[in-house]
C-alpha cells in the first residue's frame, strides 16, 4: 500500500513540475502498422502512413547537438495502453520521431525514471534534422 502511494505521489509531483516548467505539448509521430506480406514496403517502394499522438505535459530543452525532452510518465503510459504497445521503450523505438514546433526530431535514446517500479518521467535524447 505504501509503495502504491509513493509511486502515485511521484507521478503527480512530476506532472505538476512539468506543467509549472513549460508544460508544453509535443507530437509523437508513429508509423501505421506494416502490411503483412507487402513486398512494396520491404523494398522501399511504399512508405507507411503516419499518425501524430500528443504527449503532454512535457518540458523541452534545446541544445546545440542534442536536445532533451522530459515527458510525463502518466501521459506515456496512457498511450502505451491505448495503442497496445508492450512497453514505453518499444513505443519510442517504433516512433519515427517527435514533432516539436513543426520540426521532426529523431529519438536517440529514452530513459525512464522510476519510483517503486513505476515510471514517473521519461527523458528522450533528441537530435534535430540536418540542415
Amino acid at each position: 500500500m505504501a509503495d502504491v502511494l509513493c509511486s502515485d505521489a511521484a507521478v503527480r509531483t512530476a506532472d505538476t513540475l512539468l506543467r509549472a516548467n513549460g508544460g508544453r505539448a509535443v507530437l509523437l509521430r508513429l508509423p501505421a502498422p506494416a502490411v503483412a506480406n507487402n513486398d512494396g514496403e520491404q523494398l522501399g517502394l511504399a512508405t507507411p502512413q503516419f499518425q501524430d499522438v500528443e504527449l503532454a505535459p512535457c518540458a523541452f530543452r534545446k541544445a546545440e547537438s542534442t536536445s532533451t525532452l522530459l515527458i510525463s510518465g502518466s501521459a506515456v503510459q496512457a498511450i502505451v495502453g491505448s495503442l497496445k504497445f508492450n512497453s514505453a521503450e518499444v513505443l519510442f523505438e517504433t516512433a519515427a520521431g517527435v514533432v516539436v514546433d513543426d520540426v521532426l526530431y529523431t529519438i536517440l535514446s529514452s530513459t525512464a525514471t522510476t519510483a517503486d517500479g513505476k515510471a514517473y518521467v521519461y527523458s528522450l535524447e533528441l537530435r534535430a534534422p540536418d540542415r
Binding site: P31, A32, P33, A36, D39, G40, Q42, L45
Partner: protein, 168 residues
C-alpha cells in the same frame, strides 16, 4: 542496379525462410522472415538482433560489354545476444547457426536467379520477370565483433547483373 538489389533481397529472404521458418522478426507489428534491407527501413530497425540486415556499399558498372555489367557489394550484418532463458550463454552457438544459414542460402547452387522488376508494386501491380539473371559470389564471413552483450558479424557477397535497357 535497383532491380538487382531487389531481386537479391527477395531471393535471400525466401531461402532463409525456407531453411529456418522460425527466423522471424516483428517490425511495425508484423511478423516477417528475419531478413531486411537497411535502406528500406526506419533507422530504428538497424539494431534488430537475430536477423540478417543487408547494406549495399560499393557499386560499379563495366560498360565494355554489349550489356553493361553492374557489380554490387552487399554487406550482410547480423548479431545475437543469445536467448534470455540461457542468460545469453548460447550467443556463440546462435551466431554459428546464423553463419550456417547464411552460407547455405548464398553458397547453394544455383548462385543465380532471374532478375525481377518490382516497380509495379508501388501502384498495386506485380513483379515482372526480366530477360537477364543476377548472379553472386560465395559469401565471405568477417571476424566476430563483440558489441556489448551481443556477438556480431559482417559478411560480404558480390552481386552482379547485366544492365538492361532502361534500367536505373
Amino acid at each position: 542496379m535497383q532491380n538487382a538489389k531487389d531481386t537479391f533481397y527477395e531471393m535471400l529472404r525466401s531461402r532463409i525462410a525456407a531453411a529456418n521458418p522460425e527466423r522471424t522478426i516483428v517490425l511495425r507489428g508484423v511478423t516477417r522472415p528475419g531478413v531486411l534491407v537497411e535502406e528500406n527501413e526506419f533507422v530504428s530497425a538497424v539494431t534488430v538482433a537475430d536477423c540478417f540486415r543487408l547494406r549495399w556499399i560499393d557499386a560499379s558498372v563495366n560498360a565494355e560489354n554489349a550489356l553493361p555489367v553492374a557489380t554490387l557489394t552487399c554487406e550482410v550484418l547480423y548479431e545475437t545476444a543469445g536467448t534470455a532463458g540461457n542468460v545469453g550463454m548460447d550467443r556463440g552457438r546462435l551466431l554459428t547457426q546464423m553463419d550456417a544459414e547464411l552460407a547455405a542460402a548464398l553458397n547453394a547452387w544455383p548462385q543465380k536467379t532471374a532478375k525481377q522488376n518490382y516497380a509495379a508494386l508501388a501502384t498495386g501491380g506485380s513483379a515482372a520477370a526480366m530477360a537477364t539473371n543476377i548472379w553472386w559470389s560465395d559469401v565471405v564471413l568477417g571476424p566476430l565483433v563483440v558489441k556489448g552483450d551481443r556477438f556480431a558479424r559482417t559478411a560480404k557477397v558480390t552481386v552482379m547483373s547485366c544492365e538492361e535497357a532502361g534500367e536505373l
